[in-house]
């Protein structure tokens, strides 16, 4: 991969710092040992017609490399994994399994995590949120329960090797950092920490956070 550019936010409020999805892409690029240039954007860019051509939903990240443009962090992580072999096992079956876990993270776990976060981070004091929260938490727990049983005493979802599936699943578990649900599953907590301890993750996180410090709004 050549001339890699990743789009990220110049600044976000503290609740999102360290979670914005360009982190997943930075992490994958760090694991692959690929240098990249970051393109920082703000709310005005998100709405612009020019940016919407690259990212129809106005979100981050976007990846440009090799003359190809991609959006959706899952799609980008998969592209990096497939182009570099850094995040996938060598055999076809193992690669397909890693892909399956990426989708499980994004489509079987994350929707329920986002549902809970919508309550806890944006609507905590709303009456509807208080009524809804127990069922929303139960749904997250039912998914984590299944995931914990699957992981059992393995280090990674498919056993010995860290894959793109782990990278995305660990990233989704990190979205629950405001509460203690993951810690109720000791093997999932250890799994998440195993991901966060990786040097590539640490570099990716530091690079995302550095922007937020640099572009911190000045108090009026």
């Amino acid at each position: 991969m050549n001339k890699i550019r990743v789009t990220a936010f110049r600044w976000v409020p503290p609740f999102a710092q360290g979670l914005v999805r360009d982190l997943r892409v930075r992490w994958a690029l760090e694991e692959a040992g690929l240098p990249y240039e970051q393109v920082l954007i703000g709310p005005d860019d998100q709405k612009s017609a020019e940016y919407r051509k690259l990212q129809p939903f106005g979100q981050v990240p976007v990846l440009e490399a090799d003359g190809v443009t991609l959006f959706e962090s899952g799609s980008i992580v998969m592209y990096i994994a497939q182009q570099t072999n850094a995040l996938l096992p060598p055999d076809a079956a193992g690669r397909a399994r890693a892909l399956t876990w990426m989708f499980a993270a994004l489509n079987s776990v994350e929707p329920h995590v986002l549902n809970l976060n919508t309550i806890d981070l944006f609507n905590a004091n709303a009456e509807w949120a208080q009524q809804r929260r127990p069922a929303a938490e139960a749904m997250v727990r039912s998914r984590l329960d299944a995931l914990s049983k699957w992981l059992a005493d393995k280090d990674y979802l498919e056993g010995g090797a860290f894959t793109a599936g782990d990278l995305v699943m660990m990233s989704v578990l990190r979205f629950l950092r405001h509460c203690s649900i993951v810690a109720d599953y000791p093997n999932l907590e250890a799994y998440k920490l195993r991901g966060e301890a990786r040097p590539a993750f640490q570099r990716a996180l530091a690079d995302q956070l550095a922007n937020f410090e640099k572009y911190k709004p000045v108090a009026a």
Binding site: F57, G67, E72, S73, S75, L106, N107, P111, W128
Partner: protein, 217 residues
């Protein structure tokens, strides 16, 4: 592709969900690529069993056995079929775009659409649901407007008809109980075009027939 393909589909479901259970996307992709397959219908008891959980950790459908591997997650299976049997544009930029749209279906559209379905199917009279619904519907509408703009402009999500269209239609079929698709001309025309494909019609008919046989009236 040596080993025959076997998929696991849902053995029984409430009527409202017939025609939108996710094995539909896998059946559709297999039909598009003329891949012979057999269907195993899993009962609720089977899906809860340790044996099934070893194949599908969350106890959901679909699961895919074939090509020497076991896969789950409809998005992953459709993408696997697309990569191995040709349901993606060949040109690199269009191919990357198709994959981006496939992920957008499952991760940028589906979460809000699942939330709307949870309200409408499971809690329509609950006070929290009545209070919450307008905001969820407006988020779904906002996303649909962007898909509408895309297909109005391009005809399909990326290049010609591809796996991205299959996954997006699969996700959007969860809105059949609303008029949210119909209120957008390009979006509903694109949907009708995709759903008129003989492969979709065969996949849908097979899911409906399987569920009609096994579900309570």
């Amino acid at each position: 592709m040596t080993s025959p393909v076997r998929i696991t589909a849902l053995g029984a479901a409430p009527r409202a969900f017939h025609g939108q259970i996710r094995d539909l996307a896998v059946r559709w992709a297999l039909e598009e690529t003329h891949t012979p397959f057999e269907v195993h219908l899993a009962t609720d008891a089977e899906r809860a069993s340790p044996g099934y959980r070893a194949m599908q950790p969350f106890g959901k459908v679909p699961a895919f056995e074939g090509d020497g591997i076991v896969l789950f997650e409809s998005g992953a299976i459709v993408l696997h079929i697309a990569e191995t049997r040709g349901l993606l544009p060949r040109e690199p930029d269009a191919r990357a775009l198709a994959k981006s749209w496939l992920f957008a279906a499952v991760n940028s559209l589906d979460p809000d659409i699942i939330a709307l379905g949870d309200i409408d199917h499971w809690a329509p009279q609950e006070p929290w649901a009545i209070a919450r619904r307008p905001a969820v519907e407006s988020m779904v509408r906002e996303r649909l407007a962007l898909v509408d703009a895309r297909v109005a402009n391009a005809g399909h999500l990326a290049g010609d008809f591809s796996a991205a269209d299959i996954m997006m239609i699969m996700v959007l079929r969860q809105l059949r109980h609303t008029r949210l698709i119909e209120e957008r001309a390009a979006l509903s025309a694109w949907r009708d075009r995709c759903e008129a494909r003989p492969a979709f019609q065969r996949a849908l008919a097979a899911q409906l027939a399987d569920l009609a046989r096994t579900s309570a009236p």
